[in-house]
Symmetry: C2
Subunit: 542 residues, 2 copies
Amino acid sequence: MTPARLIIRAIRRPGSIIHPFQRPVLLRLGGQRFNTTESHERPATTATATTSQKKQVRLTAESYPNIKRDSRFAKLTSEDVAHFSSICPVLSAESDDIEAFNTDWMRKYRGQTRLVLKPKSTADVSEILKYSNSRSLAVVPQGGNTGLVGGSVPIYDEIVISMNSMNNIRSFDPVSGILVCDAGVVLETADNYLADQGHIFPLDLGAKGSCHVGGNVATNAGGLRLLRYGSLHGTVLGVEAVLPDGTILDDLSTLRKNNTGYDLKQLFIGSEGTIGVITAVSIICPQRPSAQNVALFGVNTFEKVQETFIRAKRELGEILSAFELMDDTSQRCVAQVTGKKRPLDGEETKFYVLIETSGSNKEHDDEKLEKFLMALMEDETIADGVLAQDETQARNLWSWREGIPEVCGHWGGVYKYDVSIPLKELYSLVEDVKARFIEYGLLGEGEAVVDVVGYGHMGDSNLHLNVPVRSYDKRVEEVLEPFVYEWIQKRRGSISAEHGLGVAKREYVQYSRGETELSVMRSLKNHFDPKGIMNPYKYIKT
Amino acid sequence: MTPARLIIRAIRRPGSIIHPFQRPVLLRLGGQRFNTTESHERPATTATATTSQKKQVRLTAESYPNIKRDSRFAKLTSEDVAHFSSICPVLSAESDDIEAFNTDWMRKYRGQTRLVLKPKSTADVSEILKYSNSRSLAVVPQGGNTGLVGGSVPIYDEIVISMNSMNNIRSFDPVSGILVCDAGVVLETADNYLADQGHIFPLDLGAKGSCHVGGNVATNAGGLRLLRYGSLHGTVLGVEAVLPDGTILDDLSTLRKNNTGYDLKQLFIGSEGTIGVITAVSIICPQRPSAQNVALFGVNTFEKVQETFIRAKRELGEILSAFELMDDTSQRCVAQVTGKKRPLDGEETKFYVLIETSGSNKEHDDEKLEKFLMALMEDETIADGVLAQDETQARNLWSWREGIPEVCGHWGGVYKYDVSIPLKELYSLVEDVKARFIEYGLLGEGEAVVDVVGYGHMGDSNLHLNVPVRSYDKRVEEVLEPFVYEWIQKRRGSISAEHGLGVAKREYVQYSRGETELSVMRSLKNHFDPKGIMNPYKYIKT
């Protein structure tokens, strides 16, 4: 990197142009074959995926034969449908449109609901749950249906409560930055509304064009802004929710400080519709940054990546908004599959880091970033680097990070894990898994495993482990599991950093939670929902 | 303000030199006379307070005759004491030192414990609770005993579990900034430890020299850094707690992202020892800012204060660390009582704002703040202003904010409320209360009420309403209550912004929480602590 390349130009992060709802790549997670991609990343367009889309999606009840319909639940009668129709618009089994509510967007999960309810108000939701609870009819709250773990579609005949029609912004106070909106407001709609007022929604993810604010809160979505704005547990100030018996819990505070009893709303953040339906959210929204920069650089060791991260936090401090890690394998994959010229001219390094800054003063941000990068170059903490000089360059740099999940599917399939690991050991999982494949003779030219790829939100300690394969192979699975889960468990990591549990991970939660924690969780579920009607068969086994 | 005064020098916020544990001022809250001060503010040294300190502190059981000892609880036997002595060091009724654990630091609350336990480990706490629960012996967890609502001292013969001896820093990862420490670590000790590593504890308050990290979490302390670093609900990553039956709940995650079930730790944040004892905390600690600035300026209307706040957030954005509001009445009181020259030369304005910035680059921060203030002066949003040029000046500017609670007690007494109100109406409470006093002929020369003072953490929507009086008067109380509580209730404000409920506010919580919320809270309390042994008679009436 010569100083001449350090000229910085105003750019915009291109996140808003990425739409995840195209054709997904054939992936595997936890030994199971399925179509997915991270919600905030560009999906693949492989032939395999295209073929799979044409098929009828397999019923979740068939994919998970160990999940039996709970006989405690009543079966829907025509009287029930008539009653629900008196509350709000409904979509019944006769409608062709009902399948869209039964099937998730990845086309991995398919339920068997015979009724979709479209409440228009919190009172409607209350009436719905009161009746459902009294009749022991199971329900599934559904937001934008953009989840990755099958949490928002039914498995058997659970009634879908679609939040699509509850989509009003209730209030916004430009002085405090506090937004109150219905749960069914689309994230992008909320963010666009805020942009007009000079504010920003403190959460960003690729599914923003479809996902609901209520669904974001119900799943505790992480996304791209967590490093800067923190988690929803800190930014959400209030929640309005309807409890399983129809009681409306109005905890829709618009206060930053309110120490008057247990912080009930926190229980609903990340509860995935298992203890109630979130109907509205109050959230504090920061000022929208006026300046953004993107840089990409090569680093030779993970120790130096950590050193870079420490120094980025110290020297860029308040303006650092992304710190993304990519290993060389991931970058070679992107180059090979896309045929694009790699952004750095120098020798290949083991790691690459993408940094983004967002601040209130462009000149200051430029100066901070330039000084930071020059110092890192001078003492050889980083080996090479480039700074985006315009929006096109910034988008190109981001594409080397965001293109990874897509290209990993290029060879036929990919085993994929989305995990949290304490930062010091973040990359060791990739190395250990790779060593195992070599030990078992499964990695290399002509072998099942193409390579082992690691990348992710370094700033959030969130690693994506991807294993691109030429074909799915039982031997590969046996090397991966339970090794990966046990490895994570030993380091007190998380088997689900940001995607939640849903159906996909309810069998694996014990790798990240102790029996005491699970027992307290089960007792809370039972406390709030003694009849178990809320989003059954998911989250945690009861 | 001339440009010449805009020269900025490196300064340090003087917060760390303020110690609240001196002689407190005689105050009233909720119509009751007591000694207190805000935990992060300089206390008063009035003759009244000195006199009151010499007296034996009245038993809380006498001050609150409606609180009766719960007959479900067993009485301590010599066998119990022997058993507890086999677990950990104890302080028995014979010890002169026991009174320090019975009485709060304000000398307002006094309990009647006959046993203090000093566990040295989580296992000790577990043994203690297991036995206490089986015997139905009530307990009170006690941290630094620096609370303002009587939450950490017993009322009757509850056994005190002092966390003083659990004071180890368990780990710190300089890469992620994540600290794990025992609950009994003193906040200042933790912050000093972090300072050596270039990090900062994301919470600051005047009691930092005595309060415990575990107590901070148990009471969801707000303090001085909330505007910048957010609440503990966002920064605390994990909690280790012992449940009332002795079960150890190990939710001591060191992960920023972990979406595997209900976020149990959140229930303990702000639970005031009513559902378990927090024994350790994991928290993410930002890089310590290297630069700080302080400015004070006068503003003519509350609309312009709000405008200033919006622009401060936009233009100072990422470096803004305090935005404190003081009305002119408060500043006149400080000037009158202290005899100090007011910091601004110009005409008096109705409001004054103190701004603090903290950032990673002094020059940039200076430039941002200077540009911001010049623009506000030019378009007359602010009327006058001054920028601290060194640490002494900064400390002087802070003293005009921090000196308010002390001087309010100058005339004989003060009625005091610490509340959250939606920002738009933050100051209206002061105006409405003042109007009522005028209407009732109670305000002015020779009348009971000296004036009505408003100030507080504007950035957090947290108002301190102070009514300095020449003498306590039933008529004054009748004007204030229930008016103030009803006024707050109408605006969905909070009757306790940051101090919690304890004994002091358990009677008033319904002004900030609906019956449904309270009912869910009660059911949760009963769920976790069916025998009710944890910190009884406080928080929420069961």
